[in-house]
Symmetry: D2
């Protein structure tokens, strides 16, 4: 028989060195006491504080403010965290010294994901973490003094204004908000939405992605500029909803910029370097989300099992009815697989740096929110109507994690990054890759 | 070779007769003008009314009442519907004469599903439809005069109080709310939740599932009793949420019954016949939900395509990026498959009666909400953050349809009905089937 | 709040008229006795004949011939079928008069799918059906006399030579086998593979897709030419396998054409009209496959249930273990949905014609083989190792249906047809559609 | 509002200690040169040998023998492997000294999975590995001398006779083959099937699971007995097929035992201790399969990408058509997740021992074959018909891995082990667990 030459196999495409430090996923010895401390602190301080905070909010009418007493309770817990040294550990290799490695932080962030307010109490909550990281890495001494310091102290909060309602923001080249130099000032015009936390009375500063150089090559057109939220011309049009919730008072705000003027020195790193900054912020931010999401998936599985063992139908505990045991098994398997992948991606960032590790980050960003959504959804189903009610955290966990499937890049873009990387390992595989994907991710 | 006797195939289990009327899924000729009329009426009257209704509600503070003017606008549209003969067509073979066959109604209900208020304007909205059907089928003349008449006239609304927070209500035998005869009165004690519409100021009557005969065989213990909502001892504890929304002012209420007394004659059909009544109501109610859900899936696909064609990323319309065309194709295929299945189930109810058609009903109840959820979710993903915002109906469609995956029996119970029916066709296949499944479904 | 205009919904894209004859999926009254006759004939004649045929083949060494006696047994059954009038009913509206409507045939073809040799016994097996349809529709009187007549009589068999090993044949424009006119003869050079049935000693004729007009517009370059299989230069290189099976003696042959000469008059319909002919053949062929596949899925479900009820593990019949009842339920639901979709597509072909119904055909071709594969796979899993053995037909059903996921166009191309049609309903939606998709499908 | 107490979260159920050695997934330093050596040896010796072996087999008629020259070629490669020290490294902590840790072996086994004959050449192929492990762990000196020694030397091969055609063998309690003591001999009667390798002319010994103590508690009824394959009364009825392939000459044999007599001393470990031995063998065997399966999935992805980049349709490389890039991305993500899970399970076996690590083993056994099947199936789809042909290894990889979904316990049983473990962590969660599951797994 005379057949066409069959395909042959060759070297595989995804580098892998068995003895390499990349495969050592242990938390460092020095971080272990901190990890135990954080778990204890969440149980003993954060969880009771959350209840108190929520109770204070009951019946509060002016939803876009905090209820009387709420901030005091929160600040007290923050002070306690600071005093116990549980503060700002999201920032690796920082001059400020608090940071952990990404891998060490990964273990801790899973725990933070299990209690809604834990991140904020320990000053590790988005988008402040990303903003602080950017300021620490590329800020001028003046910018650091003015904004990084109070953020690191937990005195103010911040926002990151990137997504726009009028364009497909998954392609960052589409960003249309303009900033034009007029003398020593940028004049900004445009519209942003889903600016999380911008409704918070404590939010003082926004890092804003704008187009400054429309005639430059596609990836040199954008800049990131610091815009104090009380600048004239910044108009908060209202809150965007997440499945009907507005998450007041922090909110996800819809903002219009009309001739907003800020000093020329408010640009970060330099004109046309907006994409470059994204490299700094997006890796850690994305992976932090995934870490916390694993904590949420753990919590959903815990609730699913408890419910399954506490109710009976047709003469059996519902955990043992139909395919429920298999659903529980698949949730456990996938949680462990996701955990290992997140640890590996964190380690990759530690070993290779954010830029080289970006495919690992895209792998977990594409994997974790999608699968965690399914686990939470299955936990809901095991609860019946109670699962979508206010009596469990499941509905709110679901909508948060569902939101995450497009925040910081939709699943589809991350799959494109991963798939393209695979193709590129073969000669000629990457030809169709547009510059903007490469830059954004 | 001496092998064990291999399995042999035999007669298949699901009856199917090619020439049978069961396979004629055409709307009747006489209903066609009505169908066209309904579509026109939705476009010309309901959709504008919805906008007006919503605008009147903006800024209304007392969320558990209707805003001034809202009811007037709604009643005007209802009057118009009544005048045009678009009223009460959900009720097949009714003495009252308005009803259509289930098949004819199926086509119309798909259209009703596309506009949130269309059902109510034409007096075809749940749970009134089920309640009216029950009253019409099993009510005494007095019960009909007192409750059915104003319901058919759209003068009052009603609720159906079945699900309880403390037990797995998917197994109806678990229902624990008790009614005890004391002289000429039932005395009712217990707790119900997710009682949809019970917050509506116009809601006057609840059909309430209670346990009256704890010593009878399992399927003879329950009764359904008419409880006027203003009876002493009926306490509305608050609204249950659906993914954070309370759907005020109609709501899904959590209700406590404390020594609630109603006349003995308020029992429907007779003591211990609660399950029997469920047979009457559940088939149509479930299939109506599925019909409307197909309308919602259609609308989600429409929005998905429009969005996919109106935005660009990486140089292409997003509808043409990655797997999106295939997602659109699969949505279309599944919508057509679901539509045919719903039509077939409706026809089965017309031809075989509700009881015999119950496996068909379970087939579509298990199939349609699950798949429609996925289609709506994919439409959300195509929209990015706008998909979960208040700017499209998608988030609210998603949570509604997700709720439907356990309302009127969770998916799992319907799969049990279908699978068991398959096994029963073989000798000995049904042995493990508990009585309660058989009865509830 | 000043939001961007939200998307609005409009008229839906998939035409649907409730009262239309399109929705009458009943088999015609006149076909009903035939349908019953076919079922009886399969049970009484085909199934016993299959066993005899198989027994005669045991130990036969020369695998590329039929074993002694096999053809006699087969021919006897064919004679019986012919005598009973169970012959050639695949061909609608034929002058020859045997044909049924596509809808009537659909019901029958499901039954044919349950017994491997039923189609051949009633002269309804691929690829002869497609070849006969093409000859009947576009053949010259001479072509009909020479090839259609013996095919209709079941005296010879035929092949369809389209797919090539060296190009992605899913895009028919890629076809590279060349035919050049040299005087009154076509001279053909190239290579084809997976030419089903070309190994059969009874196979006498191949309809061969070739490129005749490389300079014409893309969809006018191809022709279909009749090539007697014994023509000099036709070299059968060997059988292609289907998961290790070669399906001798019919086979799926790999064929080289080296200066193969046939008369100019052997071209069908005319030079450059190859795609046009595909329109004739592909619709029916694809839908026949889907019909038979439903019969296979039915049989798989039957075997799954029987096995599930005949074995016990951990104290229960395995049908009742874990998620098995739900697996059975989902199989039943999907079989009924697929059946209705196939009936609807067949009706669309009857009412609209093959060309207009092509989106319906693509819908079922994309839906049915994929889902049927899963059902068969689940039946295998329920059997344990017996499921992949020679003791059940499941393994062979699986590989056949898996093959179908790219035969006559891979799933992906059919989803492209369906998705594109959806987009086209909106202005500007179809811009990226390449001509070749449109033509091939 | 007075709600029922909501569920609260508590300690999670799956032990996890961040700093623990369990999380160090690095290959040991000492094994690294061996790993590199193995990769080199596969490329330089095994792959060419495979080609030679296959060429020698072409046209060989007596399929149940090796073709002339084949064994010589194989033995030569084995000698070379032995000489280079690439031999028997599957056996951890063995007195014989060759073994690696499970973790070290995991990295190597992935490579073995990429070349069909690599395992055998290095004496690491199933079922010999499991049989050798059992003999090494529980064999008497005489048993070791007689059977372990030639197995370790690669002089003979062996089989493991467990599965029976007449019962659901997924529940090991069902095993019905009987062994009765008659004086100093066991007399064995029964039937086994899918006994892999028992057709190999070199296969000399079977470890056979039998029921010896029908009156003992369920998990004390079984024994494992050494049965030389040439014992009188052992009748090989024929080969069982795997999707139509018989894998001659090794085969998966169907065997009848009729009054087969072996010495009393042939029992392993002791009467009634059959389940105990399973604990020894099943963990490693299962995980070795998973390791090799990851190698196969890697190879499938490699082939998928190469094909996707080498063919064009509709004007683009098919890797870039439709959802193909996402399919490639998901394959990569899942392969990395599976790899980490397998490494973790191997480490768990090293750290905790086989018994304590059994839930980890079930996790990967339930996860890996199912997902690898899908990846191979997607690679097939990317190839079109070539994917199921003899021109790529994909079809054979698919059927092998599909077989694995019930070999050594079906997916469902492993999910039961994992899910039950999850439930058991909560008081009362494990009540329905039957003894046989616990013992078998």
């Amino acid at each position: 028989m005379n057949a066409p030459t069959p395909p042959t196999t060759g070297p595989l495409t995804f580098g892998f060195n068995p003895h390499d430090d990349m495969n050592d996923l242990r938390m460092s010895e020095k971080a272990t006491p901190l990890y135990e401390h954080v778990k204890r602190f969440i149980a003993e301080t954060v969880v009771p504080m959350q209840k108190e905070f929520q109770a204070l909010g009951e019946g509060h009418k002016d939803r876009w403010t905090f209820a009387p007493g709420q901030l005091e309770v929160l600040e007290k817990a923050k002070d306690q965290a600071k005093k116990e040294g549980l503060w700002n550990f999201f920032l690796p290799d920082a001059d400020t010294g608090e940071g952990l490695s990404n891998l060490d932080y990964a273990y801790i962030a899973v725990e933070l994901g299990k209690a809604p307010m834990a991140s904020e109490v320990m000053n590790c909550s988005a988008p402040d973490t990303g903003n602080m990281e950017v300021l620490e890495r590329v800020g001028t001494p003046e910018q650091k003094e003015r904004w990084l310091k109070p953020l690191l102290n937990g005195e103010i909060r911040s926002a990151y204004a990137m997504t726009e309602p009028a364009v497909a923001s998954s392609d960052a080249k589409n960003i249309a908000t303009q900033a034009v130099l007029d003398g020593d000032e940028w004049v900004i015009n445009g519209e942003k939405y889903y600016i999380s936390g911008a409704g918070d009375p404590r939010c003082k500063i926004m890092i804003t992605m704008v187009r400054t150089n429309p005639d430059a090559p596609p990836h040199k057109q954008q800049s990131q500029i610091l815009v104090p939220i009380d600048t004239a011309g910044v108009e908060i049009l209202g809150p965007m909803h997440v499945f009907g919730e507005d998450h007041a008072p922090r909110g996800h705000m819809h903002i219009r910029f009309t001739n907003v003027r800020v000093p020329k020195s408010n640009v970060l790193l330099g004109e046309g370097r907006g994409f470059e900054i994204s490299q700094v912020r997006l890796g850690p931010g994305r992976i932090h989300h995934c870490m916390r999401t694993i904590g949420k998936a753990e919590r959903a599985l815990d609730l699913m099992v408890r419910r399954g063992l506490s109710r009976e139908a047709f003469g059996r505990k519902i955990a043992w009815l139909g395919g429920n045991v298999e659903i529980i098994s698949r949730a456990r398997i996938d949680i462990e697989a996701m955990r290992l992948m997140v640890l590996k991606a964190a380690k990759a960032m530690d070993v290779l740096g954010n830029r080289e590790a970006r495919v690992w980050v895209s792998m977990v960003k594409a994997m974790v929110p999608e699968r965690a959504c399914q686990i939470i959804d299955q936990a809901i189903q095991m609860h019946g109507a109670t699962g979508i009610s206010q009596w469990t955290p499941l509905a709110s966990m679901y909508t948060d994690v569902r939101h995450l499937r497009f925040a910081d890049g939709p699943d589809e873009v991350h799959h494109l990054v991963v798939g393209r990387n695979e193709l590129r390992a073969y000669e000629g595989g990457g030809e169709e890759v547009s510059a903007s994907v490469a830059l954004r991710n």
